[in-house]
């Protein structure tokens, strides 16, 4: 263990003040001081295990010297405020340049002064000891820790530090449809914001500082919390930590057994898929058929809605929302339209439909995109989907959390006409459903255009 102690521009108070601490610690741990001119060790060595540097870089000679020291030292330690932050000499940059020049009467100096910078501006510093001057006890503790850390090879360098902050306790939240993987989560908080915008508040931050996680209250499963399974959180998660239960494998298995399987696809999903692949609707339908589906039918959930009671939820999400937040309106609630039964698959933008009837196969748009992504769309034979006979537009439709909440408030206070209404929680309706492709401004604009085209060309009321 060979130590060199160097000094650049500064008051040299750190070295002066701590010289006996340095001597004591080095003697204790068997480290050898090779270079320290203050006590008469003035022969420089070509290599050091550790170089301690005090003072800021004030001239070009200093910066060259510093770089040479960095290349010769295994570990470089910054001692004191000047080395770490440029200290009082660094104040030169806030000073009138003319005044600076006049200190030496405007005459030239043997060294040309440059902007004063800390040594961290020039080289990688492996560790640092703060203070002006550093507190003696603190210094001894740190200096001892650094030397013994170097000897045992356990000293982490400054740039290696971020690994130290990994969390070691993860909270994964289970649920029938949604799942939160705690070890993937980066606590960016976008899902918390999405949940807040929906007015649901099922997930939020918990604990402090580096222990912060995103979780449900007391980490209960999603189905026991106030979660309505709208899936808005899955759209914004940048790392896929919060995601839905996938039926993809089941569907793939069935298709590989070449069992007859009919596909029902909602217009919003069809629009999203065609925008995602930038292809015509016919190509997407052709690809689904090429993937092994017996037929592809456009599915309009309004046709299957239960119209007995005035509040008609578009999916399980609205039913859960009313049950959780407006239980007094539960008796006005119809059944949400069930996915088609039998040997059929529903491709839908709605994530909550997965929760409605467990046995039935429901794919979100995202899963359907995965399903056909292996197919070469240039080779596909175009096909038209089977159209429903008629588009029923007879009911009032309310979508978005704000509008739905406003309507339900009016219902609860009894101040509105109890007209049959279709409720859609997702902001903007089913086209912004939780099962759509991950959020992308350009893609979402194109989906809107594609949907309008589908309604104007394919789904004209016959």
């Amino acid at each position: 263990m060979r130590i060199g102690i160097y000094s650049f521009g500064g008051c040299e108070g750190c070295r002066y003040w701590l010289i006996d601490s340095i001597l004591r610690v080095c003697e204790e741990l068997g480290a050898e001081i090779v270079y320290e001119p203050l006590i008469g060790l003035s022969k420089e060595s070509s290599e050091y295990d550790m170089v301690v540097i005090e003072g800021a870089v004030c001239t070009d000679e200093d910066s060259e010297k510093l770089r040479s020291l960095r290349s010769r030292a295994k570990y470089l330690i910054a001692l004191g405020s000047c080395a770490l932050l440029s200290g009082v000499p660094g104040n030169k940059r806030f000073t009138d340049p003319h005044a600076v020049e006049m200190v030496y009467f405007g005459k030239p100096l043997p060294k040309k002064p440059i902007d004063v910078k800390p040594i961290t501006a020039y080289v990688q510093v492996d560790y640092w000891i703060r203070g002006c001057p550093p507190d003696r006890e603190n210094f001894e503790r740190l200096f001892r820790a650094i030397i013994s850390g170097i000897v045992s090879g356990k000293l982490f360098k400054l740039h290696e530090r971020r690994l130290e902050f990994c969390r070691d306790e993860f909270a994964s939240i289970e649920g029938s449809v949604l799942r939160l993987d705690g070890d993937k989560c980066i606590v960016c908080g976008r899902c918390v914001g999405a949940c807040e915008r929906m007015g649901v508040y099922a997930i939020d931050y918990a604990y402090r500082s580096i222990s912060t996680i995103v979780t449900t209250p007391f980490s209960i499963p999603f189905d026991e919390s106030t979660c309505i399974l709208c899936g808005q959180c899955t759209l914004v998660c940048p790392v896929g930590a919060i995601h839905e239960r996938s039926d993809l494998e089941r569907v793939q298995r069935i298709l590989s057994r070449s069992t007859a399987l009919r596909a029902y696809i909602e217009p919003e999903s069809l629009a999203a898929m065609s925008s995602y692949f930038n292809r015509e609707v016919e190509v997407i339908v052709g690809a689904l058929i090429a993937r092994g589906f017996e037929s592809v039918t456009v599915y309009l959930p309004e046709h299957h809605a239960d119209t007995k009671k005035p509040l008609m939820p578009a999916s399980e999400a609205e039913r859960r929302f009313i049950n959780n937040f407006y239980p007094q309106l539960a008796e006005l609630l119809s059944e949400p339209p069930a996915p088609p039964g039998g040997s059929s698959v529903l491709i839908t933008p709605c994530l909550a439909k997965k929760a409605q009837v467990r046995e039935r196969l429901v794919l979100t748009t995202r899963e359907a995109i995965k399903l056909i992504s292996s197919i070469d769309l240039d080779e596909v034979e175009e096909a038209l989907p089977i159209m429903p006979s008629k588009r029923n537009t007879g009911f009032r439709e309310v979508h978005g959390p704000d509008n739905v909440t406003k309507l339900l408030e009016e219902y609860a206070r009894g101040v509105c006409v109890k007209e049959p209404t279709i409720l859609k929680m997702c902001p903007g309706g089913c086209v912004r459903g939780g099962g759509q492709p991950y959020y992308n401004e350009d893609l979402y604009r194109r989906i809107d255009e594609a949907l309008a085209r589908i309604f104007s060309t394919l789904l004209v009321i016959r």
Partner: protein, 429 residues
């Protein structure tokens, strides 16, 4: 327009160049520390920020810088401090002088003068001595912390007085600690007083020191040629100039190289020393004409500091018996100019500030002792070569003596001590 003549600190690396080739000898004491422009940095700052900034000129003598700038500011703002504050400041300066001399004599000079290569060898062969030195140093810094908060960059010394004053128990503790370490300090001082040094005299010599008190503040500069100069007129005698080879300014007394520091103080103010210090001074030939005698002067001052600190602490305790001490007087901002003059460990220290009516600094000048000594080093080096060496003296021998000479001047500690590179041109190796 603001004009900023001034000086910076010069602790760090230095080179002594001697040119023997020309018809006349030429010596150049090159200070190669980084210029830091503290006087420019201080401009525009508020008056109360100044002491803590100028303290960073030099870590080892930060207490002197703080107190001197504080006193300059007090003069500029017309603040008068209570008498106990002056005594407590005097104790702080005495402690700093003792600490600096101790470190210079022991950790820096001792190995060279006793034939060891460095301090590590001293630790090997004389472990007891080193242990004793480190013990004294830690005790001294504990005492210093009672009076100035910290030893390096003090934080209880403020304009108008002290932000915190040690109480009765602390003072008694400090006194007892002083009594404990005094024996050890005298032992170390005796080592240096008994040693003989190379004999020579510098003919051109002028000493400067402060009247009034042995250490601490004065308002008059006195010299060995019996000049007396008021503090405000320091510019009339101390001439600053800038040389292209050194980053330190050179200060001369009307063009004469002048020496300040322990030897100057002992020569000029021997009658103000404590009795014990006077007794040790009698063992030496007085006055101390040899530049190497600076080390003896430091040893004598070390003893004096111990005695004077104890006397002053007793004095403060006496005041405390009668009435509680209020250690801070109020400050009102006004326009003014102030020159602070004090004795730092290595000699005269001058801080000069001008403050405008909002309390912002518009002019600053600092003269540190080593800038005054640097010209004297060059002259002494030439004298040494002229009178002590012949043409066949090996260069290594000359180099060894020159290095010792620079060390004896104690040019602000970290500075010239052991990193002095001696270049001699015109000598066969």
């Amino acid at each position: 327009m603001i004009s900023v003549p001034g000086v910076d600190r010069i602790v760090g690396h230095a080179t002594l160049d001697i040119d023997l080739e020309r018809g006349t000898l030429d010596a150049r004491f090159k200070v190669l520390n980084d210029p830091r422009f503290i006087e420019a940095i201080v401009l525009g700052k508020k008056y109360y920020e100044v002491p803590s900034i100028v303290s960073r000129i030099c870590g080892p003598c930060s207490i002197s810088h703080t107190i001197t700038s504080t006193m300059a500011m007090e003069k500029a703002l017309g603040v008068s401090v209570p008498e106990p504050v002056r005594i407590l400041r005097r104790i702080a300066v005495l402690g700093e002088v003792a600490e600096n001399h101790l470190l210079h004599l022991t950790l820096v000079c001792l190995p060279e003068y006793f034939g060891y290569a460095d301090l590590i060898e001293v630790a090997k062969y004389k472990p007891e001595l080193l242990k004793s030195i480190l013990l004294i140093r830690s005790q001294l810094s504990k005492i210093m912390e009672m009076f100035s908060g910290r030893f390096v960059h003090p934080n209880t010394l403020t304009i108008g007085g002290f932000s915190k004053i040690p109480g009765k128990t602390k003072l008694e503790e400090a006194r007892n600690m002083l009594r404990e370490i005094r024996g050890r300090i005298i032992e170390i001082a005796e080592i240096f007083l008994e040693t003989e040094f190379p004999e020579f005299e510098v003919i051109m010599e002028a000493c400067a020191s402060l009247r009034d008190d042995y250490l601490y503040i004065g308002d008059e500069i006195i010299t060995s040629d019996e000049r007396k100069v008021k503090a405000d007129d320091y510019r009339k005698v101390l001439i600053e100039d800038v040389q292209p080879y050194t980053t330190s300014k050179r200060v001369t007394l009307d063009g004469l190289p002048v020496y300040v520091g322990a030897r100057a103080r002992v020569n000029l103010k021997a009658d103000m020393l404590s009795d014990r210090a006077k007794f040790y001074l009698k063992t030496r030939r007085f006055p101390l004409r040899n530049p190497f005698d600076n080390l003896q002067a430091q040893a004598i001052e070390l003893i004096h500091c111990m005695d004077a600190m104890e006397t002053l602490i007793e004095e403060v305790l006496g005041i405390l018996e009668a009435k509680p001490i209020y250690g801070r007087s109020g400050v009102t901002v006004r326009e003014g100019t102030g020159v602070g003059l004090s004795e730092a460990p290595r000699g005269i220290l001058i801080h000069h500030y001008e403050v405008n009516r909002w309390g912002n600094v518009v002019y600053a000048n600092v003269i540190t002792p080593t800038t005054i000594n640097s010209r004297h080093v060059e002259v002494a080096a030439l004298e040494l070569i002229r009178h002590h060496f012949y043409e066949d003296t090996p260069a290594t021998e000359i180099e060894r003596y020159l290095r010792k000479l620079v060390q004896a001047y104690d040019p602000c500690l970290g500075c010239a001590t052991h990193s002095v590179k001696i270049n001699i041109r015109g000598l066969k190796a």
